[in-house]
Subunit: 341 residues, 2 copies
DNA sequence: ACGATACGTTTCGCCCTGCGAAATCGCCGC
DNA sequence: GCGGCGATTTCGCAGGGCGAAACGTATCGT
């Protein structure tokens, strides 16, 4: 319930987050998150993508947004809304001057995003627009769904959280809250590719992905000489996985204690939609810092709750993403906004 | 087989069509489509969206494409391809100067299409990009799939073809080849909303749409006092529909002969994907021009063939449109192009 | 630890591109 | 064949966009 309400709301997600950036940074620096007179110019601490520091501060923008680009996107959005769009209709919704609208439409047509002719009497978008969207499903969506809950979890339990997705024969870590964890043990883990066999994330993935996929992956591991994946190893691994699955929906995987860093452990859960594992989420912590009997309460329970929130978000985003081509409303109207009646 | 091979190819569809524009226009004017020395300047006949003339001629562009817009879209496309994109990676694929890339990214971020932070170390697209795509499914896609085959059909049988989609309690005509038919009987039918009960398109839709949808629509017609839809009418209509369905997949609907224009008739088929009717296609012709015994060969057969082509295209486009979030390849790689190894 | 190196970001002044009011053009309906 | 509507084009001005070069801030190797 505290998650996202509606795909539309997602546009605000990062704004919400941005608003939280200050406190994130404060947290990182151990300062109490006291309010500071907002008029006083903050110490101009730019944050770059390659900075280990917290969030990017949304204030300072060296470049003002490029006007023509904003307008073009506005026009493209309008054509999407209108389905079959006339210049006047676009003008009515965007209030841009008509020459500008035509200029943008010409530009969009030149790149093939929009088509026009009198057989349908207006402008429409073409399948080319998918090029502008294709990359969203997958890691981008997972991050969008995970960002807020993962940050909250880190603020709560202090240990860094990671998110990873399947990438070939390994997990690829794509998100990591080490920047706001007081106890991050390393600079970054972004881009690392923990093993499917011995890492917590890999095990969580393999345990909960659909059987068909699991078999295909195992077959690949078997065939690839890079992996020492003999019959015994496979049998042991399969048993590990089935034991994991038998713990039910709330199960979590643990990193093979024989892997580095040995003074830490990692604990992972799958992030699922339907029966697929879209990604996995993990927490890493010093073994000595969390006594064994406290792990359930201090780690597993919060992580499970975070997982639930993320999966809720994912479900909403998936629904919004793969919008059904024909709405199932009462009697759908709006495919044809041109209708004269 | 002669249809579209691959969603990617669709970008060329309109170019292919555009190349055909000249002959379309020639056809319209009854001139033999003789080649004219291409150096000789054609009579500068601009074609506008609201023109009844054939296709828009792709040559003349009063405005050159807006550079910054093209670049911004290029950057957005690159971010989509890269999933998590660094400035350098974008630079490598686009060869745009880095300041330009950053300027565009800032602009895209200002509009919320792109997000950035160091927790995932780069830029990614957000769910907001759906605003740039949303309008494609539905009529835009149907037209994209139908345009070429419908035009070919018109050139072959000469009678005008119409494409319509469900719009509330009627069909809305969204595409019409009257502009290139020598025997178009009226200026335009775009935007007209033929009845579900008595029009050929409406009947074709109702006959072949999923039962659940049909019942819902019939219930709405029953409840809406605007329609005189008494029990007897409904019974007759249901019988008509079931008789239509019983003719199998190749069935076609005919316009109620009591509706105007009475000297013509209209004949329609559904355009289906899976078990849904995405649109309907129709031909209208003078009753006296096509003797009853010739209708099957001169109208139904060519229309059926066209329908098949369009449905093939639709299937390809639908597949490309609703791309599965996780590819089912051997072992999918590429969700994470950042992987260092 | 400390430079070396790589990468992200910003500055700044020139110049050209994009702007939009107004004019033009083509269709439609009368 | 005229008037009105909507699409498209013209054209001269000026502000927006451009990118080489400079500048911080990280990471990496030793």
């Amino acid at each position: 319930m505290e998650g996202l309400r509606h795909p539309e709301d997602m546009a605000n997600l990062d704004q919400v987050l941005a608003a939280r950036a200050a406190s994130d940074n404060a947290l990182r620096q151990g300062k109490p998150s006291q309010e500071k007179p907002s008029q006083e110019k903050p110490p101009a601490q730019r944050c770059r993508t390659n900075s280990r520091r917290g969030l990017s501060d949304p204030g300072k923008r060296s470049y003002p947004p490029v006007q023509s680009v904003k307008r073009a996107l506005e026009v493209l959005r309008a054509v999407n809304r209108l389905r079959i769009a006339s210049v006047t209709a676009i003008h009515a919704t965007t209030h841009l001057p008509k020459p500008t609208i035509i200029r943008m439409l010409e530009t969009l047509m030149a790149d093939g995003y929009v088509a026009r002719d009198n057989m349908f009497g207006g402008y429409r978008v073409t399948c080319r627009v998918h090029e502008l969207t294709k990359g969203y499903d997958g890691i981008s969506m997972v991050i969008e769904a995970s960002r807020v809950p993962a940050i909250e979890l880190t603020q709560r339990i202090k240990w860094p959280i990671g998110i990873g997705v399947l990438d070939g024969d390994a997990i690829s870590i794509q998100f990591w809250t080490g920047a706001i964890s007081p106890w991050a043990h390393t600079n970054t883990v972004l881009g690392l590719r923990p093993t499917l066999l011995s890492s917590a994330m890999g095990r969580a993935y393999m345990a909960y992905c659909p059987e068909e996929e699991r078999e295909k992956i195992l077959a690949c591991l078997r065939d690839d000489p890079h992996h020492e994946f003999d019959a015994q190893t496979e049998a042991d691994f399969r048993q590990l996985l089935s034991r994991l699955r038998s713990t039910g929906k709330a199960g979590f995987a643990v990193r093979d204690p024989r892997t580095e860093p040995k003074q830490m452990t990692t604990l992972a859960m799958p992030l699922m939609f339907d029966d697929r594992v879209l990604a996995t989420i993990s927490v890493s912590f010093y073994k000595t810092a969390v006594p064994l009997q406290n792990i359930s309460a201090q780690i597993v329970a919060p992580l499970g709750e975070t997982r639930r929130k993320i999966e809720e978000n994912l479900a909403l985003l998936m629904r919004g993403a793969g919008a059904p081509p024909v709405e199932a409303g009462r009697l759908p109207t709006g495919l044809a906004p041109l209708s004269p009646g």
